[in-house]
């Protein structure tokens, strides 16, 4: 029973369902692990020990009574501290929200709980999910950044404190920390997961993300929380796919389109070589690989993305910022200050350019199923003053298309490296199927030396 904390989502759910393991035992094991490592990693804002154990006991009782149980019954989870939890403080890593206690749950909180997941607590976020670093440390080396903004979620899952956590992504805030910490990070199509009750950075760019340790676990969590939500104006009405089935049908090698140009030019030598070797391994395993050029509109993607993010962050924070400016960290403060002076016509031009990029994306998939890039330009920087570089994730967040990162190995200094897979909008099943195939072909699972 001492290794219960190392089990993934699918393993916990299956063992609990078969009554081979009690949810109370799983939660206790995760809490023990969490409490042992938290002084070093600082991944949690709050841990609801009492509430988690009470929920685990209710689960146990329901199972004993033969009640119908959800797909995530007994699975401990963490929520990034920008996600509303009724009655539980949601401070968003901010002095401005330091005492904010939501009166209702975010839709994702409700859906996780309806599926039987057990909330262990709230994970550390950078201030309002932006770029000022959080206190969280990377489990692979505490002198390296864990990335951000979903710092605590990534570190907690990588350190085997919990099998799954939710984060968010406006630029690269789920995939980047996932890659830096050696785990799987999934950002689905914009609007696939409700943002209701999630403190925004930028309404048109924000996504809820999933941090886990396997593709199958990503599919299970997505299955539980995806779907239309009347409370979220951006929520998609299209039917939710069968993601759990998709990962079981991953026998056919995918056609992979490798993006070089920008992604080769901005990656360090080690990352370039590692990515080339990873793609070569996938080709040897049967994947068809070809290069795919970037569309013309790619040239303005990062500039347009930054304009949208700055203006929308400024719009959300404007009132609070005017009266509590000194309470904001330097990077977020700068973001808001810039957003307040960008002309509306330039914001709208950036929105139009975003749409142009979205319209050009389908042609990139003409001859391939999935696009691949390194997940990040470098491994996690040896610098706690940064959350790293979001340039490899931001374009796809900007377009709203689904992406996933898989751990692929370690750098020379022992930090994780990852591969980013990209699919067209609403093709989560295709993405998960390809990711599962790549995961099996590469056979890489990383566990930090803790």
């Amino acid at each position: 029973m001492t290794t219960l904390h190392t089990l993934g989502v699918a393993e916990v759910a299956a063992l609990v369902q078969r009554r081979e393991v009690s949810p109370v035992e799983v939660v206790t094991a995760c809490l023990t692990r969490l409490e042992a490592l938290e002084p070093t990693l600082q991944a949690w804002v709050s841990v609801d020990r009492h509430g988690a154990l009470a929920a685990a006991r209710r689960c146990e009782q329901a199972i004993q009574q033969g009640d119908r149980i959800g797909a995530l019954t007994g699975v401990p989870v963490g929520l990034k501290d920008i996600i509303y939890t009724a009655g539980l403080r949601t401070a968003a890593g901010s002095r401005v929200y330091a005492n904010f206690v939501p009166t209702y749950d975010a839709t994702v909180t409700v859906r996780l709980q309806q599926a039987g997941a057990i909330l262990l607590g709230k994970t550390v976020t950078t201030e309002f999910a932006t770029a000022d670093p959080s206190p969280t440390r990377n489990p692979w080396n505490t002198e390296h950044t864990p990335g951000g903004s979903s710092s605590g979620s990534a570190a907690a899952v990588a350190a085997r404190m919990i099998p799954a956590a939710l984060g968010s992504q406006t630029g690269g805030s789920t995939l980047r920390p996932a890659s830096y910490c050696g785990i799987v990070g999934l950002k689905p199509t914009y609007g696939r997961i409700s943002r209701y009750g999630v403190i925004p950075v930028s309404w048109c760019l924000d996504h809820v993300g999933i941090l886990v340790r396997s593709v199958q676990d990503a599919a299970l969590v997505l299955q539980a929380i995806a779907g239309h939500d009347l409370h979220d104006a951006s929520s998609l009405a299209q039917p939710v796919g069968n993601y759990s089935l998709a990962v079981q049908q991953a026998d056919t090698p995918p056609r992979l389109g490798v993006l070089r140009d920008f992604f080769r030019d901005h990656a360090d030598t080690e990352t370039q070589q590692h990515t080339a070797a990873t793609v070569e391994r996938l080709a040897r395993a049967g994947a068809r690989v070809q290069e795919v050029p970037l569309p013309p509109s790619y040239a303005t993607v990062l500039a347009a993305h930054r304009i949208l993010m700055k203006v929308e962050a400024a719009a959300f924070h404007a009132d609070m910022f005017m009266t509590q400016r000194e309470q904001y960290g330097p990077r977020l403060r700068e973001t808001i200050e810039m957003g307040l002076v960008i002309p509306a016509v330039d914001y709208l031009r950036a929105q139009r350019l975003r749409r142009l990029f979205q319209q050009e994306i389908p042609q990139m998939f003409h001859d391939v199923d999935i696009l691949v890039t390194p997940s990040t330009p470098t491994p996690a920087p040896h610098d706690l003053g940064t959350t790293g570089d979001a340039r490899f994730q931001s374009p796809w967040t900007h377009a709203g298309v689904p992406t996933i990162t898989l751990p692929t190995g370690l750098s020379q200094v022992g930090m994780p490296l990852g591969l980013q897979l990209i699919a067209p909008a609403l093709e989560e099943e295709r993405l998960l199927r390809a990711a599962r195939w790549c995961e099996a072909a590469l056979n890489v699972t990383l566990a930090p030396p803790l």
């Binding site: 309404w203 509109s297 303005t300 347009a304 200050e337 810039m338 031009r349 929105q351 139009r352 909008a425």
Partner: protein
């Protein structure tokens, strides 16, 4: 756009706004960020957009 806007002109416009909002000293502190933002705006402004392409806020 009629008449290409150059980065220095955009920067001056942004800096003037910043001075109005926060005063001289604070606007001076913001100079590097204003300069970077001006470059981003210039890049977006000089890229042609089809006349009939409307913005779509929720993708």
């Amino acid at each position: 756009m009629a008449g290409e806007r150059i980065t220095t002109d955009i920067f001056e416009t942004l800096a003037a706004q910043a001075r109005l909002l926060w005063g001289e000293a604070d606007a001076e502190r913001q100079r590097p960020a204003l300069s970077q933002t001006a470059e981003e705006i210039a890049m977006v402004a000089r890229t042609p957009v089809p006349a009939d392409l409307e913005p779509k806020f929720f993708a």
